[in-house]
Amino acid sequence: MSAPNSSERKACWDSRDLLWKCLDDNGDRAESCLKFQGEFESNCPAQWVKYFSKRRDYLQYKAKMETEGFKPAEGPKQPS
């Protein structure tokens, strides 16, 4: 299985961008974007689908940190 060439990469990236735009417009509801999800999965190798899904989660987390700030997890309750 050879690596995707330049046009295959671009096709994958474009379908990923369409999917992500759909998710952004629909509040991340996967059910509304099933068509784009299908396109994305057919245009990209399985490893890339996994990679880009994780990347989206990371980017959203990062945006949340930048806007809402970081809330450290609550430690064990100290005895008063």
């Binding site: 690596a3 994958c12 990209c44 190798p45 490893q47």
Partner: protein
């Protein structure tokens, strides 16, 4: 300066401290002498005073500039020594390029090299970095005064990136881009030389996997010395500017 003291002395002497002034004879006496003298001798004294001050100030400036330049040179030398101690890229590598020709580290001596480690199955980072690298080299090519920079790609995935795979991959980037591969041992040796981290991820049903690796573009000088590195956040313009500076300063050090 003497003039100022004379004025101050006069004011002070003219005031209530007359008795104290008398106890310090030399200063007021000298002032009276210059005051009492003709106007031309006072002007002469002023001119010589000015000349002395200018010479003094000028030599101060020259001395300061000399020390400053010495310091710059010393700092450059310290940085170079530090890089030599870190000794990235000091070793030798022996790999195959995308035409199957064997290339060693020695082949690249005498040339400026921009080096990137990656793999052809990379989803987005490697193509983007190689695009950036290609644009930077193209921009540097525009300057006829600069020596041509050699773009170089070394794979971190020798299992899949054989010579035909590399030949397919380089077509999308700069025409001078050389891509290198070899046996896992040869590739590991080259990666270790630049302290490149590479770790293949879990394989999926297709046998596909992603290799996690250091994402850096390395600048190597014509004497094979690692000089600088550029990460994802460095834009093409910043890289071009930095490489130009290194080329200019590198020539300077040899003089």
């Amino acid at each position: 300066m003497l003039g100022l003291r004379c004025i101050v002395g006069d004011v002070v002497c003219g005031g209530l401290l007359r008795r104290t002034c008398l106890r310090l004879p030399p200063l007021p006496q000298r002032c009276f002498l210059s005051e009492g003298g003709s106007g031309s001798s006072a002007r002469l004294k002023l001119r010589t005073r000015l000349l002395v001050s200018l010479l003094f100030g000028g030599s101060l400036l020259a001395g300061w500039r000399f020390v400053y330049l010495e310091k710059q040179q010393r700092q450059r030398q310290i940085r170079l020594d530090q890089l030599r101690k870190v000794s990235l890229g000091q070793g030798t590598f022996s790999l195959l390029d995308q035409t199957g020709r064997r290339r060693t580290k020695r082949d690249f001596l005498g040339r400026w090299v921009l080096l990137y480690f990656g793999f052809t199955h990379c989803p987005d980072i490697c193509p983007e970095e190689l695009d950036k690298l290609s644009s930077a080299v193209t921009a540097l090519d525009q300057d006829p005064l600069l020596p041509p920079v050699q773009p170089l790609f070394i794979t971190v995935d020798p299992q899949r990136d054989d010579v035909p795979a590399l030949a397919r991959y380089v077509q999308d980037f700069h025409p001078r881009l050389l891509a290198l591969t070899g046996t896992p041992e040869e590739v590991q040796h080259a990666g270790r030389d630049y302290r490149v981290y590479a770790s293949a991820g879990p394989k999926d049903d297709d046998g596909d996997y992603i290799v996690d690796h250091t994402v850096l573009i390395y600048l190597v000088s014509p004497d094979g010395l690692f000089l600088d590195y550029y990460n994802r956040s460095k834009s093409e313009e910043k890289i071009v500017e930095s490489v130009k500076n290194h080329i200019r300063n590198h020539k300077g050090l040899d003089q």
